[in-house]
Structure formats: C-alpha cells, structure tokens
C-alpha cells in the first residue's frame, strides 16, 4: 500500500531542493512525537517558508484550527513565512494542466484562506488556482 499524500509531499521536497532550497521535512504524521510540526521547512538564503502541505482530489480540503495555530507558532519561532501548500488534482481545463513548470502546487498564507464557522480553514481548488502562489513565485520570492 502506498501513501499518496507522503509521495506528493516528497515530490514537493524534491522540487524545492532542485530549485536550490535547503529543505527539512517533518517526520511522517502519526510518528512518536507530540510536537506539532508543519510538513516542510524550506530556505534559500533569502526566504524561509514553513509549509503545511495538503494533497487532495476533491474540490476542497481543510486545515484544522490546531494545524493553523501550530503552523503559525512554528513559523514564528523559525522566522519563516507560514504557508499552506495545496495540490489539487489537475484536470483538462485547469490553468496548470499540461504546464509542468507550475508543478501542481499552489501556496497561500493562512490569512488568505476562508475560515469556517468552526475556525478551520478551507483549501479550495478554485481559490488556489485563482489566487495561490506557484512554486515559481516561491523561487522568485514574490509571495506575500
């Protein structure tokens, strides 16, 4: 049995590494740690990004209020910009379809994500593709 989420996350690590970032990846979820860590920390000497990564196949997924709080706290301690990275399935008609340079990942600051009544944040495919930063934006340091 393969873990597609972990595979996609590893691919993100490789993409960032290929772009010259130093990347540290948190231990797999469910590991023997009580410390709340985001999935990826990546720096290139100019910018430092703490990334909570979500791969999803439906129209949207959620980041819990606890995950957002942990991401903000961790990023604050590391001096990093907190980002939620979403990788929706790319289909014909999507902006990123067939454009490998976009990598399929989009990044948004937690503040930009719609907050639900329960305090969680929605990661929506449509919003990501319309307003999210691409991997190229991260490389070019043109994120928020």
């Amino acid at each position: 049995m393969t873990n597609k989420g972990a595979t996609a996350e590893r691919k993100l690590v490789n993409l960032l590494t290929d772009e010259g970032f130093a990347v540290m990846r948190a231990p797999a979820s469910g590991g023997a740690t009580s410390r709340a860590l985001p999935d990826v920390l990546a720096g290139d000497g100019t910018s430092l990004y703490a990334i909570e990564a979500k791969r999803f196949t439906t129209k949207q997924t959620y980041v819990t209020a606890d995950e957002i709080a942990a991401l903000r706290s961790f990023a604050g301690n590391m001096g990093a910009l907190p980002l939620v990275g979403g990788r929706p399935n790319i289909a014909p008609g999507d902006a990123a379809y067939g454009d490998d340079s976009l990598s399929g990942w989009f990044f948004m600051h937690p503040d930009e994500l719609r907050e639900t009544d329960g305090g969680n944040r929605a990661v929506e495919k449509r919003t990501l593709q319309a307003n999210g930063d691409t991997l190229n934006d991260l490389v070019a340091h043109s994120t928020l």
Copy 2:
C-alpha cells in the same frame, strides 16, 4: 539494540523544546535521502541554530569536512547559525559533573574547532568544556 547516539540527540531535541524552541530534526542517518542535513534545526523567534550533534565517549571525535560543508551550506540557506554540538561523557572532576542545568551539551561554531590536516574538524572534550557554549548560552542568545 539501542542507538545511543539517536537517544542522546532526541534528548537534545526535548531539552530545546522545553526551553521554548521550535525544533525540527533530520531523518535518522542512513535514511533514504541523498540530501546532506545537519541533525537539528532550532529556533525561538530570536535565534535560529543549525546543529550537527555528536555524542562521544572518548577524548574527542571528528566532524568530517563534508559534514562541515553541508552544515554551513544548510545554515546559510536557512539563515541559521551553524553549530557543532558535542556531548562528551561527563565524569567526576568535569565542570558539568552533577550540574544538570548544563545538560552535558556544549556548542561551538565550526570555525572554532581545530582543523586536522585532512580538513576535518576535531571535537575535543577538553576544548568543548573550556570554550563551548552551554544550552543555557543558547537560550540566552549569548553564542557567537
């Protein structure tokens, strides 16, 4: 069979976490990664430290030239201060003996470590205890 090096390193992670640091730990050595990472990255909103951790029971151990280069490169990309952390066995007569607050770890900048003819760096118990920074120094941001 236990891995005493990994256990000591985990203890360092816990010590730093208890002091309010956000800590990320690299996957165990020998893992399926070709990326050279130091053992620990720790930040508290003021300082960010990249630490290559060495536990040893003899008078000295070594950090290879490759490990030092990887530590410097990684720290540069993360905007962190590169440190070699050494934890020698503490014996009666040592400054840290019986003083749990010192934690047994001492930290030095790679430049401070004696370079061998082969370009490696020596991590010496005597030098660490005489010139190294303690965990308390890291917490107080009084390192180099």
